[in-house]
């Protein structure tokens, strides 16, 4: 299972990097979304897949899933959700103002404003 997850994470990171390195702003934002998905899956994998029952503890329960990675993922998902929403609004606003979504035209040097 860990091997499969490692490949899935790796694939997500690969796709994310490919998208982030592209010119179009929208693709970059999708890339950051994939990057955070990869990171979240990695937390899940790193918490290991031992245990099968939900972590409701009472006497004699020894076989349970580690609840901490799930709590971390939940927090990280909420944060990346907020940041992505903000990023999308910002990209739209920048598109209105600068009239382009091409990152190569946003260098800020004398020849490109």
């Amino acid at each position: 299972m860990e091997i499969v997850m490692a490949f899935v994470c790796g694939f997500l990171f690969m796709a994310a990097i490919y998208l982030i390195l592209s010119k179009s702003l929208l693709r970059i934002i999708i890339g950051t979304g994939l990057l955070s998905h990869g990171a979240h899956l990695l937390i899940l994998t790193m918490g290991s897949f031992k245990g099968s029952a939900p972590p409701v503890l009472s006497d004699g329960v020894t076989d349970y899933v580690d609840p901490l990675p799930q709590a971390l993922i939940l927090t990280a998902i909420v944060i990346s959700f907020g940041v992505t929403a903000f990023f999308l609004v910002l990209a739209y606003r920048a598109y209105q103002e600068i009239k382009t979504d091409d990152m190569t035209l946003m260098k800020g040097s004398e020849d490109n404003e």
Binding site: L35, A39, L72, V83, L90, I98, G108
Partner: protein, 496 residues
């Protein structure tokens, strides 16, 4: 168990919420912000006194014992940084009344400032590595708002890059925490420190140490990762720039200091050597940038990069003198950078340009500005008895004690470059023929900008002169960094 240490985080948060209402009433916004900051500063003074008397203060949220719940730890390092943060924010907000413009004041500028200090103070205080990530995100979210607020073309363009860099670094942070969790199985920083000594896995922990250096280095702007800083910081208006320059990179520096003194003390020969080399390269890169530019904002921005290098050089020595120097220099740099940005803001206001070549002869028209700029510039370079001297002295002493003779000499040489870079502004802007002057300078507005700036420079002078009096506080901070068992014992005892 004492909730007092949470007050410098909760009070700005509470006032930030209050400020979300009545956004159009500028007088209400200004008074509430100042009131919140003054109350927080008083609490922070109380906190420093308390930590000085009784040692590190601990709160475990929800009363869960130490490794399970989220712990907030206020030792001398974090208490001093929290106090400095609040005092600086007070001066910057006061300065901003005249220069931030009405449109920004009506659109959540003050709540954003409050939330950014919630994040900064939280990051300084937390004792849980994942909670550190959360507070980083709090301060980043507020900083995204501040950097884009105003919606000018340059701001929109630069904020896209700023957000992208920070989103990637946040993803790295999550990944690194995941790796660390899989190795040590805990998130409490004191517990991690204990487990790391027990499990004895130097290889994988060195990888994690380098990943942490990457994550925090991107925030702190160390050598290969500082590329985003000059562009992003030049976009927002001067008060926001002062706030960012004084606080945000220093949070990254603090995080590196904390992790490299608390966690990664096993493979010092590799990790701290790398930190040393990177800090030297950071100084070189910063010096080149500071000398190459003729834009006053850029010169001071590159000086942020140089200072980060100097502080991390002190941390990399891992001895008493080096860490004490790093603490002295860290606080000095926060104060003096804020003061310099505020002074530069006034220079830009009275000349109407950021280009040094167009300036000149300000000494005749604004002598007080010139003298205070000179004091701040000398303080930045570390001329005794001003504030930068003692920090640099101890850092270099630490370098000599650790046997890094040449790199220590290099640090001393870099002070001359720092002095040259800020003196260039003095020579070009204040000496020589009368250069460009803005036509619409109001004397009243100038005075209102100048007064808080002057007070902050005076604070920095006292920081330099009052070294003797400050030393016991800084010594205690350096002790905690030197000897992690103080920190660990406090956390583990505080949970019961």
């Amino acid at each position: 168990m004492n909730n007092f240490l949470l007050l410098p985080i909760i009070i700005p948060f509470f006032f930030g919420m209050l400020l979300m209402f009545g956004q159009k009433k500028i007088a209400y916004q200004r008074i509430t912000t100042l009131l919140g900051l003054v109350i927080s500063i008083l609490c922070a003074f109380g906190l420093v006194a308390n930590v000085y008397e009784n040692g590190p203060q601990i709160v475990t949220l929800g009363n869960w014992p130490a490794p399970f719940g989220i712990t907030m730890v206020s030792d001398m390092v974090s208490a001093l940084l929290v106090l400095t943060t609040l005092i600086l924010t007070f001066f910057i907000v006061w300065y901003g009344f005249e220069s931030i413009k009405k449109e920004r004041e009506q659109f959540f500028y003050y709540p954003a400032v409050m939330f950014i200090i919630v994040g900064v103070n939280g990051a300084f205080t937390t004792g849980d590595i994942f909670n550190l990530f959360v507070f980083f995100e709090v301060l980043l979210m507020a900083s995204y708002l501040l950097i884009v607020l105003g919606g000018e073309k340059a701001q929109l363009r630069e904020s896209i890059k700023y957000i992208l860099v920070n989103v990637i670094s946040s993803a790295f942070f999550v990944i690194t925490v995941a790796f660390l969790y899989s190795v040590v199985g805990t998130l409490n920083m004191a517990d991690i420190s204990q487990k790391i000594t027990e499990i004895n896995q130097p290889g994988i922990l060195t990888v994690i140490a380098i990943l942490f250096l990457l994550v925090f280095g991107m925030k702190a702007a160390i050598f290969p990762l500082y590329f985003w800083l000059p562009g992003a910081y030049s976009a927002p208006p001067v008060p926001v720039l002062a706030l960012f320059g004084a606080l945000l990179t220093k949070v990254g520096v603090y995080a590196i200091t904390r992790t490299y003194t608390l966690f990664f003390t096993q493979e010092v020969a590799f990790t701290h050597e790398l930190l040393l080399i990177l800090s030297i390269l950071t100084i070189v890169a910063g010096c080149i940038g500071a000398l190459a530019h003729f834009d006053v904002k850029q010169i001071i921005i590159y000086n942020i990069v140089i200072a980060v290098g100097v502080i991390l050089f002190g941390v990399a020595q891992m001895n008493e003198a080096g860490l004490e120097g790093a603490m002295f220099y860290l606080i000095h740099d926060m104060v003096i950078k804020a003061a310099l940005f505020m002074l530069i803001g006034i220079v830009i206001y009275v000349t109407g340009t950021t280009n040094l070549r167009k300036m000149g002869g300000l000494m005749k028209t604004y002598p007080a500005l010139g003298w205070f700029y000179l004091i701040a510039a000398l303080g930045l370079a570390g001329v005794p008895p001003l504030s930068g001297f003692i920090g640099k002295l101890l850092i270099v002493q630490g370098g000599f004690e650790a046997g890094n003779i040449w790199t220590s000499v290099f640090i001393l040489a870099s002070s001359i470059v720092v002095l040259l870079s800020v003196m260039r502004i003095f020579i070009y802007a204040f000496w020589g023929e009368q250069g460009q002057l803005a036509t619409n300078v109001e004397k009243k507005k100038y005075n209102r900008l100048f007064f808080p700036t002057m007070l902050l420079v005076v604070v920095s002078i006292f920081y330099g002169i009052g070294t003797e009096w400050l030393t016991p506080f800084i010594k205690q901070a350096a002790n905690v960094l030197m000897d992690p068992s103080i920190y660990i014992d406090a956390v583990m005892k505080g949970g019961e």
